[in-house]
């Protein structure tokens, strides 16, 4: 099987209600390094990620995977949202549901799901109804659900924005493990500390434009754009 990556974005723009959310973004996202899309609220991070994942169509421009996903075939990319959406069934059944959607044979689903829950430390809560779990547990469950699918690319949209520090730490640990297992991680955040901890490379969005792209050390030590420098300076005291 050839690979989905690299993903090429060519002149991707998105307009909504007369406002420009994304303005001609050009980027290539390759396999390997953890890419973090950094930017202030309203910079267009979530929209860019949704366009990459195929949940939104760009107003203009092209989104091209190295090999296109086929309709009616299992998806080869997954996404974890800021607020996890769980079905009214057990934690385990939520993972099994995703495996069924991914056309995993029935006999294998349960074992995969159990393993995924164990990976995120939720094995003991497998039979609990998913929607009554805490916010941090639900987000770990969302990660387990995505991980069980063994995606080539995992998109994470501000996965810790609603979590307390200890839950954030657990989620970041799981993201590191998913990366170590060979899945390409693409994440959005507005949190500089988190970007430093997770990123290999930074894509800095400012008012809908890709203002800068750099390896993480260089981005923080020698930002190449005035916008990035201001963002780092403005944000640092609070992180």
């Amino acid at each position: 099987m050839s690979a989905l990556l690299p993903l090429r974005l060519a002149e991707v723009s998105f307009h909504a209600g007369g406002r420009v959310i994304l303005d001609r973004v050009d980027a290539e996202i390759a396999a390997g390094p953890r890419s973090v899309i950094l930017g202030a609220n309203g910079a267009g991070k979530s929209v860019l990620m949704r366009i990459c994942h195929g949940l939104l169509a760009p107003t203009s421009g092209a989104v091209q995977w190295s090999e296109a996903e086929l309709p009616r075939r299992p998806r080869r990319q997954a996404m974890v949202f800021q607020r996890p959406v769980m079905l009214r069934r057990s934690a385990l059944a939520n993972v099994v549901y995703a495996l069924k959607a991914a056309q995993v044979p029935r006999a294998e689903r349960r074992a995969h799901a159990v393993a995924a829950l164990a990976h995120v430390g939720l094995g003991h809560l497998a039979e609990h109804p998913a929607r009554v779990l805490s916010g941090g547990e639900q987000q770990r469950l969302a990660l387990a659900r995505a991980w069980a699918l063994k995606p080539e690319v995992l998109f994470l949209d501000e996965p810790t924005a609603n979590l307390d520090p200890s839950a954030t730490k657990e989620v970041e640990g799981i993201i590191a493990a998913i990366h170590a297992a060979g899945t390409k991680v693409v994440m959005t955040t507005h949190n500089l500390g988190q970007a430093r901890r997770i990123a290999d490379e930074i894509l800095f969005l400012h008012q809908g434009r890709l203002a800068e792209r750099a390896p993480v050390e260089r981005f923080f030590s020698q930002p190449g754009s005035a916008e990035a420098a201001a963002f780092i300076k403005g944000e640092l005291p609070w992180t």
Partner: protein, 243 residues
Amino acid sequence: MPPLRGGSPLNSIAEALASALGLITTWDPRLVEIVALSLKVSLSAVLFATLLALPLGAAVAVARFPGRHGVIVVLNALMGLPPVVVGLVVYVLLSRAGPFGEWGLLFTPPAMVIAQTILILPIIAALARQAVEDAWIEYQDQLRSLGVSGIAAALTLLWDIRYSLLTAILAGLGRASAEVGAVMIVGGNIDGVTRVMTTSIALETSKGDLPLALGLGIVLILLVLLLNAAAFLVKEAAQRKYG
């Protein structure tokens, strides 16, 4: 309505109420028969209407097609269908000269089921449409991310909000068991054959047999209360369990 016989009106009403309770507590065969037929007709109508309305409501909620807004407006408007008009239309269709006259269904319980099904289908479908659409707004990104769309998505949503749909189904049952116009026209209110609670109440009241009318009225209200209480408890329990 003929005046009540003998004594002051208040006494007569008290007497009627007492004999009504007597009919209920002694399981008066006439009353039991009427209640049983009512339940059979209305529950059958709810069953058929639900089977048709839930997929219809979910499809309108999830699918995007030209004229969708028109369909939603019509569906919502049909919630207020006047029962007598539904009864009239079904009467025309099932009458000897009508297109389905040869089935010989007019003035039988099946005709009443058909009429009530038509009456409550839009109610259940419109309420289900709203509930599924609200859920779709919450779930759609996640489901599309997982590659779930179309019929599979609609079924997932229906199952996930199954306890909320109880309310829609109950609204249909309430309408079916309370309406009198449609069953009166297509059933004909024939004693022992098509006489249900509402048509009996109308008839007995005009005949002046208040005990039976009141007794049936009390049973009708109790049944509706009971069903709603049960549905409420089920929904509460589910909410606590599944969130």
